[in-house]
Amino acid sequence: MTWLTSHPLTFLVFAPTLLGLLILVLPHALGRLSRMLGFMGALAVFALSLSWLLGRHEGAVLLTERAPWFTLVGLPVDYALTVDGLNLWLVILTTFLVPLTMLGTWNSIKDRIGTFAALFLLLETGMLGALMAQDLFFFYLFWEAMLIPMYFMIGVWGGDERRYAANKFFLYTLGGSLLWLVALLYLANKAGGFNPVLMGQAASLMPFSVQCWLFIAFAVAFAIKVPLFPLHTWLPDAHVQAPTAGSVILAGVLLKLGGYGFIRFAIPMFPAAAMHYAKPIAILSVIAIVYGALVAMVQRDIKKLVAYSSVSHMGFVMLGLASFTVIGTQGAMLQMLNHGISTGALFLLVGMLYDRAHTRMIADFGGVAVKMPVFTTFFLIVTLSSIGLPLTNGFVGEFWILNGTFLSGFSWGRLYACLATSGVLLGAVYMLWMFKRVFWGPENKDEDSGTHHLHSDLNAREIAVMLPLVVLILWMGVHPRTFVAVSEAPVAALLQDAKAPEPRTFVLKPAVHEAAPAHEGAHATEGHAAEPAAPEVHR
């Protein structure tokens, strides 16, 4: 056990792969056993991640493993894994979603069950590795490794257009990362290694224009993953074609890696360039928020609607990051978790509906509430979370992001914050309009309709999947500190290192007789001033 206590992160990252490889060598006939094995393994990883990672208060870094690994054309590559405030909850989100998704889509996959479970576990290794890696080459390996299992999940178990969607997903993401790889190798050459801190220092000594190019190379790779408008078009296809499990993980974790890439690497390594491009990023974010919502509004396929809603929600994440304020960045951190929970839950629910009705077209439904009251209740709660109703998780994230953006030290902050609020309205439009058409209204009695094929409400397994998600939705909404307290200090330090501009506040005009100028944000002194302002009335 001594190896385990000194290498907990290695174990968390690679245990799923070991299990996955084991499952791959099991005969096909044992698919059901493989599935159970995979689920139990993923559940164990989740339990271990909770017990190892939570409840540690040892400064900024919670757990870390670092050792020299090999040299690549003379450049040392480190085997470096770390869990700290920036990735702790994303890691736990990943280990949580994997077993939950397996359980939620238990019967959705009909053929090659074992292979699917194995791929799922390989994917988990890729995601956890990418989240924890502290060496950029190591990170790059995981980043690309994630693509392969997802490619097969979409391409083999997907819908009718799965080949197109899988190829598009693969080429889009790969295309973005190739440019990034070039930048990575260039910078590593200058820095003498792939350590992000050293690379950042090396970059800061380069001419500003070079920093900008390097930042763009990083940013494009991450922005495709987010996805940021206009690099988002792989997402709807991938989501619609992917099996439910793929969609959940894609939305729940893979997209987060884009935002995470910004906050872990792109922004701290090139702070000056990042702030230089804050405005364009914010513009694209606002466009993504509004555009994603408007396009989601006119979709006819529920899953595609949810996919476009992701574009809108992830736009909020990027806007928060671009604000370069603690409130906005913390909002982005929370919003990433929110989106993982809420959109993951939505995809699971859509999957449950599809498994029964074999259609996802909104027009095929109507009156589902009559037939599936429990399902409807869950769907409503998740919908409310998605539209950011207060006391659900969605509200806190959006509220922070909007306020952070409004306070941003950049001059565009106020306007963009106001524009972005429209996303909150449009979110309610597309979600509740869809909800109304699918769940409310008279029962759709058409023989071919989706409603007609709904014979059973959620079973115990499905309820067991949804309950934790609902609990989390409320927990994150009522006590968000649980999930973002740990990132507060790193985020503040990051912004300070980046020399982010001071928040902009309004200066209010004090009453005439007041001696001290009322500084913005400063509390008035206790007690009554000599002559408080008497606003004129009845003039």
Binding site: P230, N403, V424, A511, G521, P532
Partner: protein
């Protein structure tokens, strides 16, 4: 007792959870006990808290229960603030709320979704209490959006119908439009004051000079007011409230008359010191309120659905409240909230009783003569009607008179608008009363089966009727020898330690104005009654003679149609355009698939050379070598 006050909002939440999770299994009896019990318990606790608050020196009781969402410079505690303003609202919500819960026991007893109904109703009380008691604007916003949700769920309560889902959706989305204003207003206030805790904002506001022209606070308050037009159904966002009548009638009484729709007025009163710093905003509030008061009253003149009449009446009365606020009569506006809660809840519940008696008939033209069949309903509704028309001595008289008087001081034009609206009010109310209770029954079948409602429904009517008649004496204006006690009572909350009075010196012909407006109101009431006491013939004749005017009013000035045609349809069209143009054609077509296709074509072209025949390769090798040789030797 202090340590139990957190239960004031939480009790109804627990009731909601019980009714939602276990209600169906536990049976109607348990649902009734829990659903009503939690609201009654909440009311009793609220009463105790109210008295405790009155005992405090500064009439303010603040209770904090930890931090909610702190990050960076933002801090939002879970805190309850009880002062005369929120304390009064708290009592209205739980008190009148309890009566309406009680009424619902009778009204909904046959409904299958009984548990679901009480689950939503309890949830509403929770959110409404959060709205008024929350110590910060963010908590207020929690309630603000939360009551919107409950309103949505309750309007869409009959979800298997065609119309209720649409009405629910419309209500939620229209409110969300307004909520954007609230969200932006909060952001501005946070950037200006560095806090969103109400008491901190108000303390700072006390040290500020009023804005000359359009400043930060003007922008913030206008944004907040825009939110108020959504929640409180004012121009231009009033559209949802008439449709909201698709919900069960107790809901209309509780949410869409007595409590939720007054949130906008409450918010402005809450922030009265800030609004007072922005004269432009105050003007906007007054004029929008006045315009809505008249506009909605004219539509109410010709509606045939008994609940629709009351709905437009509510929009109109809310307009009066804003008119009062805008005229710096924060206490007057809020006083009207209170009196309106009595008589409008009464009128709605009375209408519900009529509908109940007539087996779900809501068309006024099909009623008639019911005063013999439903005596209690008739007498109590009579009390409500004279209260709303402002019969001297009733609650509506005192509160409306104070508003009209302040409106006159601000601008005589506003007074004229207000009086015209009051005339319409009297007319449509007496039209409603006459068509319902007088004349010959026009639907004999329904009339024969009509019956008075059970005691659980009539008891609330009687209590509310007493309140409608008597509550006005809490605020007898100075012109009538009173001293506007309600203003004095609310003063600590409205001025927040500032020395200026919420409403200043009185001058002008107060008595004369009151006599004119009251006489006109009574006259139009009588006119309405004589016209319709024998049936709707006169209106049919009027419609035949002036079809344009009648249709215009009946179709609510065609605003809904205009919004659909010029706003909603273009937005959907635009969404489609974006999708098709950008995603499908530009980005995917030109940006992604075209390079893909080009690559394939290029690949196919180069594949031509990959023939697999050795002699071709040998030939190209020889040619290449020759070329290299040539270059090298040259």
């Amino acid at each position: 007792m202090n340590k139990y006050y957190w239960l004031i909002p939480i009790l109804p939440l627990l009731g909601c959870l019980f009714n939602g999770l276990l209600g169906k299994r536990a049976g109607k009896g348990a649902v009734t006990v829990v659903g009503l019990g939690v609201v009654l318990g909440s009311f009793l606790l609220a009463l105790s808290a109210f008295l405790a608050m009155k005992g405090m020196v500064d009439h303010r009781l603040v209770l904090n229960y930890g931090e909610w969402m702190a990050t960076g410079s933002l801090s939002v505690p879970f805190g309850l603030a009880i002062d005369p303003l929120s304390g009064t609202m708290m009592l209205v919500i739980t008190g009148i709320g309890f009566l309406i819960h009680l009424y619902s026991v009778g009204y909904m007893h046959e409904d299958e979704g009984y548990a679901r109904f009480f689950c939503y109703l309890n949830l509403f009380v929770f959110f409404m209490l959060t709205l008024v008691l929350g110590s910060s604007l963010v908590l207020m916003f929690v309630g603000w959006e939360g009551v919107g949700l409950c309103s949505y769920l309750l309007i869409g309560y009959f979800y298997e119908t065609d119309f209720a889902p649409d009405a629910g959706l419309k209500a939620f989305l229209t409110n969300r439009v307004g909520d954007l204003g609230v969200a932006i207003g909060m952001m501005v206030l946070f950037a200006a004051f560095g806090t969103l805790t109400v008491s901190d904002i108000l303390t700072q506001a006390g040290h500020l000079a009023p804005e000359v022209g359009f400043g930060v606070l003007t922008f913030a308050t206008l944004m907040l007011f825009f939110g108020a037009t959504g929640k409180s159904a004012q121009l231009p966002l009033y559209l949802w409230l008439p449709d909201a009548m698709a919900g069960p009638t107790p809901v209309s009484a509780l949410i869409h008359a007595a409590t939720m729709v007054t949130s906008g007025i409450y918010m402005i009163c809450r922030l009265a010191p800030v609004f007072s710093l922005a004269p432009i905003s105050m003007n906007v509030v007054a004029w929008v309120g006045g315009a809505t008061a008249l506009f909605a009253a004219t539509i109410g003149l010709v509606q045939r659905d008994i609940k629709k009449v009351l709905a437009y009446s509510t929009v109109s009365q809310l307009g009066y409240m804003f008119l009062g606020l805008g005229a710096s009569g924060f206490a007057a506006g809020f006083f009207h909230v209170f009196t309106h809660a009595w008589f409008k809840a009464l009128l709605f519940l009375g209408a519900g009783s009529v509908i109940h008696a007539m087996h779900h008939e809501q068309d006024l033209f099909k009623m008639g003569g019911l005063r013999n069949k439903t005596k209690i309903t008739f007498i109590t509704m009579f009390a409500g009607t004279i209260a709303i028309m402002g019969f001297p001595g009733t609650s509506g008289f005192f509160s409306k008179d104070e508003i009209l008087y302040l409106a006159y001081l601000k601008s005589p034009a506003l007074w004229v608008i207000g009086v015209l609206g009051a005339c319409c009010t009297s007319f449509y109310m007496w039209r409603l009363m006459a068509l319902t209770f007088w004349g010959e029954p026009r639907d004999h079948h329904a009339y024969d089966q009509a019956h008075e409602s059970p005691i659980s429904m009539t008891l609330p009517l009687m209590v509310l009727a007493a309140g409608s008649l008597l509550w006005g004496f809490w605020g007898v204006p100075e012109a009538f020898g009173g001293h506007f006690a309600v203003g004095e009572f609310l003063k600590p909350a409205l001025t927040f330690g500032q020395t200026h009075a919420a409403h200043g010196h009185h001058e002008g012909p107060a008595i004369l104005l009151a006599v004119i407006s009251t006489t006109l109101g009574l006259g139009f009431g009588f006119f309405g009654w004589t016209t319709f006491k024998n049936g709707p013939a006169a209106e049919v004749a009027f419609a035949a003679k002036h079809p344009f005017v009648h249709n215009l009013l009946l179709n609510k000035y065609y605003v809904d149609e205009g919004v659909e045609l010029y706003l909603l349809r273009p937005i959907r069209w635009f969404g489609n355009l974006l999708w098709k143009l950008f995603d499908v054609i530009l980005i995917d077509g030109v940006g992604v698939n075209l390079p893909g296709a080009l690559t394939r074509v290029f690949g196919d072209f180069t594949a031509l050379f990959q023939t697999g025949r050795v002699r071709n390769y040998a030939l190209s090798m020889a040619l290449g070598a020759a070329l290299l040789l040539y270059v090298y030797l040259k």
